[in-house]
Amino acid sequence: MKCDGIPSGCAISGMMSEDGRRIDGRIIIKSIACMHDRSNGLGGGFAAYGIYPNRKDMYAFHMMYDNIEAKEATEEFFKNVFNVDKDEAIPTQRENGVSNEPILWRYFLEVPESKLEFLSERDYVMKTVMKINSDIEGAFVASSGKNMGAFKGVGYPEDIGRFYKLEDYSAYIWTAHGRFPTNTPGWWGGAHPFTLLDWSVVHNGEISSYGINKRYLEMFGYKLELRTDTEVIAYMFDLLVRRHKLPPSLAVTALASPFWKDIDRMEPEKKKLATLVRQVYGSTLLNGPFSIIIGHNRGMIGLNDRIKLRPMTAARKDDMLYMASEESAIREIEPDLDVVWSPKAGTAVVGTLKEEVE
């Protein structure tokens, strides 16, 4: 099931309501469909936040199984590591251009108290995800966060969106990806977004620093089994923000650090911090062309590589923040924007859910 590395071209789009308004999936499908020609039908996917309000405190595992044996093995495994509150098929409908889907099943899980003697809950869940992906043949965790989910597969993104009936989900953050891989793996797990806990990443580009990013993450117990460069981004946010407790704005400067020539000209306090981040987190620096949108439960972050080798446009309208590979993909769903801009290389665009929003 695991496939080889996937260099890609791709389209990305993201939208969020900072007021926490839930929007159904038809809008984001319209946006990503506008960039149809940036994909080649070999992968599309979506991440949605706020979609499971009734079970928002449980880990929602979206699973992909190659066969029934993998499903049985995973469910047997779950019995020992989680309390399973509910499990069900992920609703889908037949759609042209989508075929050979794996078994798609979702689980709402709680971690038994007894398991948390030596580990934090999230570390425990992270380890479980790593274990399933590397140890259970034919099983793959598509997403594992709370009150969120990833919907992805092989096909054009608009077809994948309809296949998963995204019109039935309401989310305050949507991100989307259309894929243009330069080889043909046809593997559902290889589509974006890549996720871990509530982190999701859609990525246009290729990480030239993958080798060291991977080795660095392995030092902290992450297993990079998917052999695709995008997963390092999800894991790096997990490491830097969740485990090392860096503010997201600082984590971003580790991944796309300012140049030394600019750091040298900063105010002393800023300079000290920027230097420290590069010294300590040099191995997390991402090289190569990329534009990415990272989703998490409290917001959305857009980021370009340090010399902007991939396109990215951002826009705002009232409480809405939009980001996409092309401005047209934003105009398609909101023609009347308050402000539109092209984020500078290495400069993050950050959307944050208002504090009062649950």
Binding site: G211, V280, G282
Partner: protein
């Protein structure tokens, strides 16, 4: 005893072209050329240092290997036969200089570097920034903050760091092994290029006092020149446990080289042999090393990174791990091809392991133990070209050290006669009339040119790799492939064979 050894080289003088200026006679510091009505070589004394040929205004001199053939014997090579003759005549250990010249595998030459095509673009180093800056020193695992949300302040206090503008530093070569002018050239070049030179174990001459922020000062088993001032006037303090050219043995600077200046710098009487014992006599275990590391940190008020230099030997990974846990900020690993001013040939040629394998093993081990961030890794022991630097960094080194390459840049011809003190190029000698031949300013220019050239070459490779900062190459073994290496070697190096994709 009359020597039966044939001459190693033949000096050919074209007497038609020679205009008898005697410049060659003056320049030959090995007395291999005399003037008897005409230029007359004593072939037996020639070491092929090229000094005469370089300075002959008529290009009338060529030096060739003595074509004297030996009866063929694969097992009994001419070299082995000559060594036996030497020992039969002298009864002594065969002494030699520079690094291991034997044809062991050179793993650098079996590794190839990746490049970008199409999906991830290669990057033009003339258009885009290509950052080579490197910081040596211990890094914490994570940055820590105090406070919550918007009101946070930095809690992490970083251990001392030393900035390098290029990840290449000059290797430890003592004042004694090399001349003061060579030391001055290295210090000047280190300052100009934003890198470091290393005193070696012979102390720091007072003329170099103004360069101390660019100098690694060494504390070796002889403790020559070690004072509180010496430790504090430095960028880094290095404890020398071993040297790649002679792992496990000490050093010996003969008394005839210990003149007024060296005596003062090393703090030993004029004319006495400077003996470095094989071990430090206060280090017989890892906890003793830890004591010395912390004694130095106390003496320098925790303001200097402390490096520990070891030779690459079989168990190097475990040793390096112990060194990091003992508190070292930097581990310097010297491979078996590293150079020396003087070493017994048996040690130089047969002891230690290649730096490529040692580096890969150490980097792996420190990562497995989750302590790679706690020390920088410096590697040396025959870094010959910028490609070796790129490969070393991709295997996991923070920076490389160059000894022999820096000497060659200053004029060294690798004749391996450093231990004689007759260096015709003014580098490995203390004879004032020879030392004078090395102009520190000009030698510094040559060193700067070499590093500038290497810097540009490294940037070219980074660009072709689609990388614009050297930290994204560091440890990125995915960008290397092996050619013609057996699987076990590939596994040790942590690289795939060429032809295998991601």
């Amino acid at each position: 005893m009359e020597s039966q050894l044939p001459a190693e080289f033949v000096v050919n003088v074209d007497h038609e072209r020679c205009r008898r200026c005697k410049r060659c006679v003056i320049n030959c510091s090995f007395s291999a050329i005399e003037f008897k009505d005409k230029v007359t070589p004593n072939h037996r004394l020639c070491v092929a240092c090229h000094r005469c040929a370089t300075f002959c205004p008529e290009s009338a001199i060529t030096i060739t290997e003595n074509p004297l053939d030996y009866k063929y014997g694969y097992n009994w090579s001419p070299e082995i036969r000559k060594n036996i003759l030497k020992q039969a005549e002298s009864g002594g250990i065969i002494l030699t200089g520079m690094g291991n010249p034997r044809p062991y595998p050179i793993y650098w030459d079996h590794m190839l570097i990746d490049a970008c095509q199409v999906t991830n673009p290669s990057i033009d180093p003339l258009r885009e920034p290509m950052e080579l800056r490197t910081y040596l020193g211990a890094k914490p695992e994570a940055i820590e903050f105090e406070g919550e949300h918007d009101n946070i302040s930095l809690k992490t206090e970083l251990a001392p760091q030393v900035k390098l503008d290029i990840p290449v530093v000059f290797a430890a070569m003592s004042y004694g092994a090399i001349s003061l002018n060579a030391h001055k050239a290295l210090a000047m070049a280190a300052r100009r290029m934003g890198t470091l030179m290393n005193t070696g174990e012979g102390g720091l001459h007072e003329d170099l006092a103004s360069y101390t922020d660019r100098i690694i000062v060494q504390v070796a088993s002889g403790r020559f020149g070690v004072t509180s001032k010496y430790l504090n006037n430095s960028a880094i303090v290095e404890i020398k446990i071993g040297q790649g050219a002679k792992p496990g043995i000490g050093g010996h600077l003969p008394g005839e080289k210990v003149g007024e200046d060296i005596s003062k710098t090393r703090m030993i009487p004029v004319g006495t042999d400077a003996l470095s014992p094989a071990p430090h006599h206060d280090i017989y275990s890892i906890e003793d090393l830890s004591q010395l590391i912390y004694a130095i940190k106390e003496a320098t008020d925790y303001k200097k990174p402390v490096s520990v230099k070891i030779a690459a030997v079989h168990n190097v990974a475990a040793i390096a791990s112990g060194i990091v846990r003992a508190g070292a900020d930097i581990v310097m690993i010297d491979g078996f091809r590293g150079g020396t001013g003087a070493a017994p040939m048996i040690i130089r040629d047969h002891v230690g392991i290649p730096i490529e394998l040692a580096l890969a093993a150490v980097d792996d081990r420190l990562r497995q133990e989750g302590i790679r961030n706690r020390a920088s890794i410096l590697v040396g022991g025959s870094i010959r070209q910028s490609a070796d630097v790129v490969k070393a960094i991709a295997l996991g080194a923070d920076a490389c050290v160059i000894g022999t390459a820096s000497l060659i840049a200053m004029g060294c011809r690798v004749c391996q006669k450093c231990y004689t003190g007759n260096c015709a190029w003014g580098i490995a000698t203390q004879k004032p009339e020879l030392v004078r031949r090395l102009n520190p300013e000009l030698a510094a220019d040559r060193l700067c040119n070499l590093l500038t050239a290497w810097g540009h070459e490294i940037q070219e490779v980074l660009g072709s790799l689609g990388i614009i900062a050297v930290e994204s190459l560091r440890g990125s073994r995915e960008r290397l492939r092996g050619v013609g290496l057996p699987q076990e070697t590939l596994d040790i190096l942590g690289i795939k064979h060429a032809g295998i994709g991601q």
